[in-house]
């Protein structure tokens, strides 16, 4: 299996160049590479025709050390042998494909619907549900534990706070959680299906609202896909502005997360300060493009808004006091013993579990997994060695908070540098139409972790399949494991420390 096609982040390659392996070869290749330190970035099925046509399985593996992406495919089939027992990173991808195309993955240990939608071709359903009707959300058998004094607590889908809907089912022994099952799908909008046949004029707006708190992250990934398929590079100026936008998004969300963590443990000063500071960072994005969440800011081929020197100076001036207050609020948070007592040792995920589940982003780095798209697959946006390794080993709530603290500190310095000198170049050069019969992969380190978009085009250069993998896709399983043998009263804190997206998962 030498001569495998290798692409870089944001690259594209013709479908004909992707090797089609037999199931056994596919499994062996994945097993070897994923054990040797590569990570499964995406896995998607592309039907070879209408209706119940066989599916070609594509897998994208990221080799961080080399900065490469490997793309392999499996011969078209209608029934698959599950890889999950050997390679757990596949578990959600297989359930996703099974639900989309009504196929079976034989031997999958936990084969259940994921988002509760009818199969796309409209034919067979993997669980024998009526394909003509929309399934009820949460319609599945939950894992249960039986025994004296074991009780079940169901939380959601409607929660007490103003947050997104999701259903959590705890199997408890007194206050101790034996198992947590998370059932999502309440916000499934079928976004990736809307993109198929595109790119459409409305696609950018749909991408930006896919996960509203990661508008810039998702839009950057979509833009990179189109730039890869059009084989254009963005100018240094556009790259610099994209980096500024991404770091502002990271700061706003991380600082907001600190506020939420402080609120959960009942520590008021940091809670109220961070709530205000988050608004200050959002306002900076608002200054840049008129939208506090960065809508309309990133566009394929560059940026939708320029940053003139006067505005850069204004942002720099605003950043000074905000950065000082942020550092102050975090210092107070991490210097208060009662806060640390609450965070330390709570919601621990072992490094081994994190590796097998393929946890990414903040949650992954808090378990000692060194993965950062900005560092290892930097693309055009970041300079070499610009991003340090920011990891923690603890795997608990404290480790996730500390990773965030490191990132906040780094982003503040980074913004300061980038706002001082902004490279020259064209702001926006619309990319040419996408190349036909190709596959493009784009990864962007959003604030939660890597946002991955994979596009497959048809013979006229329209999207045949579009897959979005939000970091939440991997990390929800991590939250479920973090709760094992924990106190049920610590769930909200663990949940906040992950702060995952419901809509980014549901799509």
């Amino acid at each position: 299996m030498s001569g495998l096609p290798v692409i870089k982040n944001g690259g594209a390659l013709p479908l004909a160049h992707i090797p089609r392996l037999t199931p056994a070869e596919f499994a062996a290749f994945c097993k070897v590479r994923l054990t040797e330190g590569a990570r499964l970035v995406a896995c998607l099925a592309v039907p070879e025709g209408e209706g119940d046509a066989p599916l070609t399985l594509y897998a994208v593996l990221a080799d961080d050390q080399a900065g490469d992406l490997l793309v392999i495919a499996q011969e078209p089939q209608r029934e698959f042998e599950s890889l999950t027992p050997r390679i757990p990173q596949f578990h959600l991808f297989e359930r996703e494909i099974g639900e989309q195309y009504g196929v079976n993955f034989i031997g999958h240990p936990w084969y259940k619907p994921l988002r509760f939608h009818a199969p796309w071709p409209g034919g067979r359903d993997a669980w024998g549900r009526d394909p003509k009707r929309h399934p009820q959300i949460g319609e599945m058998t939950y894992f249960t534990v039986e025994g004296a004094e074991v009780h079940e607590v169901a939380v959601g889908p409607v929660h007490a706070g103003v947050i997104e809907p999701g259903h959590f089912r705890f199997q408890c022994y007194g206050e101790k959680v034996l198992h947590l099952e998370i059932s999502l799908g309440y916000q499934h909008r079928g976004i990736t299906r809307l993109i198929e046949g595109g790119p459409w004029p409305q696609t950018p707006m749909q991408i930006e609202t896919m996960a509203g708190d990661t508008s810039i992250g998702h839009m950057s990934a979509y833009s990179m896909v189109l730039e890869g398929l059009g084989k254009v590079e963005i100018s240094p100026r556009a790259a610099a502005l994209r980096a500024i936008a991404l770091e502002l998004e990271r700061l706003a969300n991380h600082v907001g997360d600190f506020g939420a963590l402080a609120g959960d443990v009942g520590f008021l000063p940091t809670s109220s300060y961070c709530g205000r500071l988050r608004g200050d960072y959002l306002n900076m994005t608002g200054l840049l493009c008129g939208s506090r969440f960065g809508r309309g800011l990133v566009r394929p081929g560059g940026m939708g808004f320029d940053l003139d020197p006067a505005m850069a100076a204004k942002m720099l001036a605003a950043l000074g006091p905000v950065a000082r207050d942020t550092r102050g609020a975090l210092e107070l948070f991490f210097n208060t013993p009662s806060v640390l007592a609450r965070l330390e040792g709570t919601g621990k995920v072992s490094a081994r579990d994190a590796f097998y589940l393929g946890l990414v982003g903040v949650a992954g780095r808090a378990c000692g997994l060194d993965g950062d798209v900005r560092r290892y697959h930097r693309g055009a946006i970041y300079a070499p060695d610009e991003i340090p390794v920011m990891i923690e080993e603890g795997g608990d709530v404290l480790a996730r908070a500390l990773v965030r603290q490191q990132e906040v500190e780094h982003s503040l310095e980074f913004l300061h540098q980038r706002l001082t000198t902004i490279a020259a170049g064209e702001l926006l050069v619309a990319p040419p139409p996408p190349a036909p019969d190709s596959l493009a992969v784009a990864m962007v380190e959003g604030w939660r972790g890597p946002v991955t978009h994979v596009a497959v085009t048809n013979q006229v250069g329209r999207f045949r399949r579009y897959q979005v993998v939000d970091p939440s896709f991997f990390n929800w399983s991590g939250l479920a494991l973090a709760l094992r043998d924990e106190q049920i009263s610590d769930f909200p804190l663990c949940n906040k420390s992950f702060n995952l997206s419901y809509c980014g998962f549901d799509l």
Partner: protein, 302 residues
């Protein structure tokens, strides 16, 4: 007798919502926020009493009894307690036991009302409330024994006399420990940080709040009012020990009321300065407090 009854009810009924307002205001100020008006709870109560109620069809009369007992008990208990120089309208030897178990009665009915809803959240909250209150009870009793021994009186009215002894005598040290223990008991019994967070919206972390989630309208008003009165009673226990005794009725009453408000400020400051405990740590702190109260007793028996 009638005069002091009137005065007691007046203090409890009018002053109690103010304490909650002061705590909220102090927390807001320390957190850098403007905060709600000091009299917010009065307005909230007025609003709630004008509302209608939503009552689950699965509940029985127990659900309605909870709030009623919740407000009747603090009113009754207040009659056993002196408010500074204002002697208790009702007093007999051993009334301290009645005081503690009146509180227990209110808790019993709150728990029954919570269990009556059949909600898994409320069941969890009830279990926590019952567990933690068992751990608070020894502290209260031992402190009452300490105070009874110091004063030689077995009624609340006679027990709470400000001690004149210096703080370097065993009596003074025992008294200081008693005040500290009572303050911790006040935080625990009134669901304040670090034991519980009265402001949280997270059902899974709640102790007391989760038990009253299903109550609405006037019933919720009764519960909030009752909780405010309970806070005032526990603050009064402490203020009785700290107040100066000049002999001037007006001056002493004023000092006592100011002390109540200062205690509310102190609660606000404690809540601002620290995070909540992990729930598994709560029993440890409560048992530690019990030990402190035993030390106070040992100092006196030595």
């Amino acid at each position: 007798m009638l005069g002091s009854l009137f005065m007691h009810l007046l203090v409890v009924l009018t002053l109690s919502p103010l304490l909650a307002g002061i705590i909220a205001r102090v927390k807001a100020k320390v957190g850098g926020r403007q905060g709600q008006p000091l009299l917010q709870l009065y307005w909230d109560l007025a609003k709630l009493f004008r509302k209608r109620m939503v009552i689950s069809s699965t509940t029985t009369w127990l659900f309605r009894a909870g709030p009623v007992v919740g407000i009747a008990v603090p009113l009754l208990a207040s009659l056993l307690l002196p408010f500074g120089p204002l002697a208790a309208p009702l007093s007999f030897s051993g009334d301290l036991i009645l005081f503690v178990y009146l509180m227990g009665l209110a808790r019993f009915f709150t728990i029954l009302a919570a269990l009556d809803t059949g909600s898994s959240f409320e069941g969890m909250g009830s279990a926590r409330e019952a567990t933690f209150s068992i751990l608070v009870e020894p502290t209260i009793f031992v402190i009452f024994i300490v105070l009874a021994r110091l004063s030689g009186d077995f009624s609340l009215n006679g027990m709470f006399v400000p001690v004149k002894a210096g703080f370097n005598t065993p009596a003074g040290i025992a008294m200081s420990l008693a005040i500290l223990c009572l303050f911790i008991v006040m935080l625990a019994e009134n669901c304040r940080i670090p034991f519980d967070d009265p402001n949280t919206h997270l059902e899974l972390t709640m102790i007391h709040e989760v038990m009253v989630l299903d109550h609405s309208g006037p019933d919720l008003g009764l519960i909030l009012y009752g909780a405010a009165m309970k806070l005032l009673l526990f603050a009064a226990l402490i203020a009785n020990l700290l107040r100066p005794a000049t002999g001037n009725l007006l001056l002493d009453t004023g000092a006592f009321l100011v002390l109540l408000l200062l205690l509310a400020v102190l609660v606000g400051l404690v809540e601002s300065a620290m995070a909540r405990l992990r729930m598994i740590r709560v029993p440890q702190l409560l048992i530690g407090t019990s030990l402190l109260s035993f030390f106070a007793l040992i100092l006196l028996l030595r």
